[in-house]
Amino acid sequence: MPESMKGFSELGEEDLKRIEMTGLQTGSLEGRSGSFLQVDEHIHHASTDTKGIEILALSDALEKYAWLEDYYWKAVPRDKDEITQYIAAREPKGYVIIARKGSQTTFPLQTCLFLAKDDIQYVHNIIIAEEGAELHLITGCASSMKTKNGAHYGVTEFYVGKDAKVTSTMIHTWGESIEVYPRSVAIVEERGIFLSNYVCMVPAKKVQMYPTAELRGEGAVARFSSIMLATPGSCLDTGSRALLSAKGATAELITRAITTGGTIISRGHILGSVKDTKGHIECRALILRDGIIHAIPEIEGRVVDCELSHEAAVGKIAQDEIEYLMARGLSEDEATATIIRGFLDVKISGLPETLQNQINAAIDAAEKGF
């Protein structure tokens, strides 16, 4: 039996609810392969009950495994920007997940980074999936209702080994005054698969991130799916980048964005630097109430035989679709909500059903605000 999560008992009911909105279980840990909780800079919990999979605090991992130095700050450079420099200058916080060769999680591993105080929370996470391992991760990032002026700085380094598969689902539930700066890079080896899903349906003052997947091995695959809602006062400057650096590498960057008054900058960049690579960027956005959607898809091919494409569309809900559903008896508001719900429905292949359900639940919770 998995032990219950330490640290949650210290949080109030309202905060627990916000954590649960990010898809995390705060009570029984059944249905989860492992759990990690960091509140501000304190690590409360790290456990896993799956053979071949370890989850531990970064500081402990660095002490325990000397070889971790080969992964520590190797995907993300320390001096990349002020965020990485800030984290590099401090005591290591965050988690390390190691999935040994051939190991597999039946259930997702959950990690939670919770901001309770008006301060800067920083984390540095390293996820290593060795050859043939399969790892499903759900990361919930949330802040307390009481937090007024916090910030979250994060570095995440993913290492997806040969024939390994990592899915990372991140659901953000920040507050209206919180600034968030994740910095993440995934290195994917031969035939490795990296699926990254990002959901942000709750206001945040500012989110700025541009995660990158470097497809180093032949036949490596990356897929980023992002679903975002910007309410008034929110600025989501997000994007994803794929570097197709080996034969047969493919990448897909998919975004669904909605503004009801906030700003979304949706960036995307695919670089095809070797032959026989493929990449596609798709960004669709709806402006429901005046706000800004700025899509910047970039495709950059450098050799013959790399196939890159992008499509981006910003618009409103088509009147004929609304009227079609109204003719079936749905009111205008019901029809609008139904269409938006469909618009956001990005089926993510290869994602366990439980995680897809968490994504759906995060969207459902926001539906009232449309």
Partner: protein, 243 residues
């Protein structure tokens, strides 16, 4: 059931329908014929309440309610249903999801009707996305079967349907307008646009109307009208001054 009085309808600022008068009684099925662009679809859309078919004069009385300015969904809830000729694609909205909503969560009925219409493998697909002409019609009929409207309006139900599926669609439509019931027990009415008249093999329509240039040119037996149109086209109708 439906009384249309002196109806004038504008599309994009241009009057498309003028002086339309029509009464459809309970249990009656009416057929609407006429050349392309004569206003048939506009009439159905005006009865359904679409914003682009703006009623400028006249009135629509349905089951003693004045529905002239009622929103679309309220007309639908009163029992008016429309089979779209070219329905829009709604990306991400699964056919099954829409049927779950319109059936009030009656998944048994949805599954049964979907199987009946050979649409059970389409329930998890985005509505109308990549559907062939015949699949669109089967999906539309299926939606109406769930909705069970009292006034069934069909905009070219046979277009795009192959011979094999014609009887499936035709019989399902006949059931929608209760052609299986004895004439005195029929409560449902139909208003059907047809070009080919194939649908008449499945439903014996009671009245036929020919529309030209936005108004009715003649009324009569639907079979006879069809026969005359088939042999002579609409040229005579257009030239005909008798209303």
């Amino acid at each position: 059931m439906l009384v249309i009085e002196d109806l004038h309808v504008e599309v994009e600022g241009r009057e498309v329908l003028h002086d339309i008068n029509l009464t459809i009684k309970e249990g009656e099925t009416h057929v609407l014929m006429g050349p392309n662009g004569s206003g048939k679809t506009t009439l159905l859309r005006a009865i359904m309440g679409f914003g682009s078919s703006r009623i400028t004069e006249g009135s629509l009385i349905y089951k003693d309610h004045d529905i002239t300015h009622l929103p679309i969904h309220e007309r639908a809830r009163l029992g008016i249903g429309l089979l779209f000729q070219r329905p829009p694609t709604v990306s991400g909205l699964k056919l099954g999801k829409l049927l779950a909503v319109t059936s009030g969560g009656d998944s048994e009925r949805v599954d049964e009707y979907a199987r009946h219409m050979n649409m059970d493998t389409f329930l998890e697909r985005d509505i109308n996305k990549g559907f062939s002409g015949g699949e669109i019609k089967r999906s539309e009929v299926l939606q109406l079967m769930i909705q069970q409207p009292d006034l069934v309006m069909l905009d070219e139900p046979e277009s795009g349907v192959d011979l094999e599926n014609m009887s499936l669609v035709g019989n399902a439509i006949a059931a929608l307008v209760e052609k299986d019931k004895h004439i005195v027990n029929r409560k449902k009415s139909g208003l059907i646009i047809t070009h080919t008249g194939y649908i008449l093999d499945y439903i014996d329509a009671d009245f036929g109307h020919v529309m030209c240039d936005g108004t009715f040119k003649c009324h009569g037996n639907p079979r006879e009208i069809l026969k005359s149109v088939q042999s002579k086209g609409y040229k005579e109708c257009i030239e005909c001054q008798r209303v």
